[in-house]
């Protein structure tokens, strides 16, 4: 068991990270308000929250350029639904009004008519506040468009980390193949590549599902996605190349050369060219889109993310060693 400690670590990390990724709730937020347009006069708003606790009696208020409007009557239906009646005054300044419930705010929730020079501010809300997660229990950020799919961060992204790690291992064994002409190194390079391809496939599937949920399509023309497609094509071509050479030593050498050549160009493609194309990407972290570092003020996502990455990489290495051993035994049996 002494040598196997890292396998145990992989299992523990993966279990902890996966449970956290699936079980941790999203932060409370306001998701829906009807109607979305208000005019001066009486209006009844129906407010829907997500993971909220409306029954604790939070103050409901409208806010328009520092002027607050207090409700005439608030009916809390349950934890996630409130009906509030307002008497909207004439002369609010801005044509977008924010809605607040306690600490939660829905910016620009209501399109406002009947603008003017401003009104007297009511004293019902707690005033301007940024959403503060630090007092709450461990939660995921609640972002519009992403919502619950933010959990995929802990599955989709580690797949690519694990793939790159395994392709790196494959590269090292390819270099050693050229140096030593050993078929053992060639087998290891192939094994690492196969497991890497598996992670590539999983990354593509999780990414496609996520893209469908957030962008509306399984596949888009995007720098990152092109990079993923090229990666898959390169390594499938590697397998085709291997398949077309009958002589084992020649196969080992040619495959190693192609692997080294392709890996270097791939790294350029994945990590250098997207920086050049920075203007046109939908993917987080590219093209002016925020990465998760920007959404995640207090780094709590990272406490799940990094263990997940490490766990998947270790699992990948474990799978690689198993596949390599199985391949060696199969070869010995065939001999």
């Amino acid at each position: 068991m002494k040598q196997g400690w890292w396998k145990l670590l992989a299992v523990v990390l993966l279990l902890a990270a996966s449970i956290a990724a699936l079980r941790v709730p999203l932060a409370p937020d306001l998701v829906h308000v009807t109607p979305d347009r208000i005019a001066p006069g009486p209006v009844e708003l129906t407010i829907t929250g997500y993971n909220t606790h409306f029954t604790d009696g939070s103050a409901v208020y409208l806010e328009n350029t520092d002027q607050r409007v207090c409700p005439v009557e608030v009916v809390v239906k349950d934890e996630t639904h409130i009906t509030a009646r307002f008497d909207v005054p004439m002369g609010l300044k801005d044509n977008l009004t924010d809605l607040g419930v306690g600490k939660l705010r829905y910016d620009g929730a209501l399109f406002t008519e009947g603008l003017g020079e401003g009104v007297e501010s009511g004293a019902c809300g707690p005033g301007v506040q940024k959403l503060d997660l630090s007092g709450l229990a461990f939660v995921f950020p609640n972002r519009s468009i992403l919502y619950e799919s933010i959990r995929n961060l802990h599955f989709h992204v580690p797949m690519w980390f694990a793939m790159i790690a395994l392709m790196g291992i494959s590269l090292v064994f390819s270099i050693r193949t050229l140096a030593s002409n050993s078929l053992d190194h060639d087998r290891a390079a192939l094994s690492a590549m196969m497991i890497g391809l598996l992670f590539c496939a999983l990354g593509l599937v999780t990414g496609a599902l996520w893209a469908r949920a957030t962008w509306g399509a399984f596949w888009t023309n995007d720098v990152k996605l092109n990079g993923a497609a090229v990666t898959a094509l390169i390594y499938l071509a590697y397998l085709v190349l291997r398949g077309s050479i009958p002589d084992a030593h020649k196969r080992a050498r040619l495959a190693a050369i192609y692997n080294i050549f392709a890996f270097v160009l791939l790294v350029l493609f994945l990590f250098v060219l997207p920086r050049l194309n920075a203007i046109d990407s939908l993917h987080p972290g590219n093209g002016g889109n925020s990465g998760f570092g920007d959404l995640d003020m207090d780094n709590r996502l990272r406490t799940v993310f990094y263990p997940a990455v490490l766990g998947w990489i270790l699992l990948g290495i474990w799978m690689f060693t198993l596949r390599n051993r199985a391949a060696r035994i199969t070869e010995q049996l065939e001999r």
Partner: protein
């Protein structure tokens, strides 16, 4: 000493190709046919983006076609003979250089035919110097990437088919960058905007040739 070898091999390549004029004729005919097919298929005007894309697609396939044969000549005996005379790195450098020259000439000739058949409306606002720079850098890049791929495919004993499978994914980054650069040049943007792409292309070319130079000796030995 090494440069002498490269120069000698380069001369040898040229002499051999001049002797086999059918090869060059074949390449040109391929390009002209491709352009003509596009002319027939695309009736009426093309937008700048499509004009640009079509040109690069024609050039990409022309490159595969032209460079696939660059290592086909070396059957067992001739390769062994060369191996005893010169360093393999000289061979790959000379071959890359020769392929680069071939591709530059071929891409400029294709451009000529392309403009002849499909019109030069797209060039109206273009920065011609930048566009030609993109064409030349792209041609050199295709040659740099596909030389080693052609060598691998030839050694695997499986010509054009394997070359397309191996070459397409690794030439794609180059293609995307060069298409972007030439599209920007056609739109007539300032050089400072486009210079990151040119820098990236030069970087890709240099890295590719270096890799080929490093790896080729392993490919050659049997």
């Amino acid at each position: 000493m090494r440069t002498k070898e490269v120069a000698y091999l380069l001369k040898l390549e040229m002499a051999l190709d001049l002797r086999q004029r059918a090869a060059w004729g074949g390449m040109l005919l391929y390009v002209v046919s491709a352009v003509y097919v596009c002319f027939l298929a695309v009736k009426g005007g093309l937008g700048t983006a499509t004009w640009n894309a079509l040109y690069w697609i024609i050039l990409l396939f022309a490159a595969f076609n032209a460079l696939a044969r660059s290592f086909q000549r070396e059957d067992g005996g001739r390769q062994l003979y060369l191996y005893t005379l010169v360093h393999p790195r000289s061979v790959v450098l000379a071959r890359s250089l020769y392929n680069a020259i071939t591709m530059v000439v071929l891409s400029l000739l294709s451009l000529l035919f392309y403009v002849l058949f499909l019109g030069n409306d797209a060039l109206a606002e273009a920065d011609l110097v930048q566009f030609l720079l993109a064409v030349v850098l792209g041609a050199i890049g295709f040659a740099a990437v596909l030389t080693l791929v052609a060598a691998i495919a030839a050694r695997a004993g499986n010509g054009l088919g394997l070359m397309a499978i191996l070459g397409f994914p690794i030439v794609l980054p180059m293609l995307l960058a060069v298409m972007r650069a030439s599209k920007l040049a056609l739109d007539g943007v300032a050089f400072s905007v486009n210079s990151t792409y040119f820098g990236g292309l030069v970087l890709l070319d240099v890295i590719t040739v270096t890799l080929a130079w490093l790896l080729f000796p392993y490919l050659w030995r049997d």
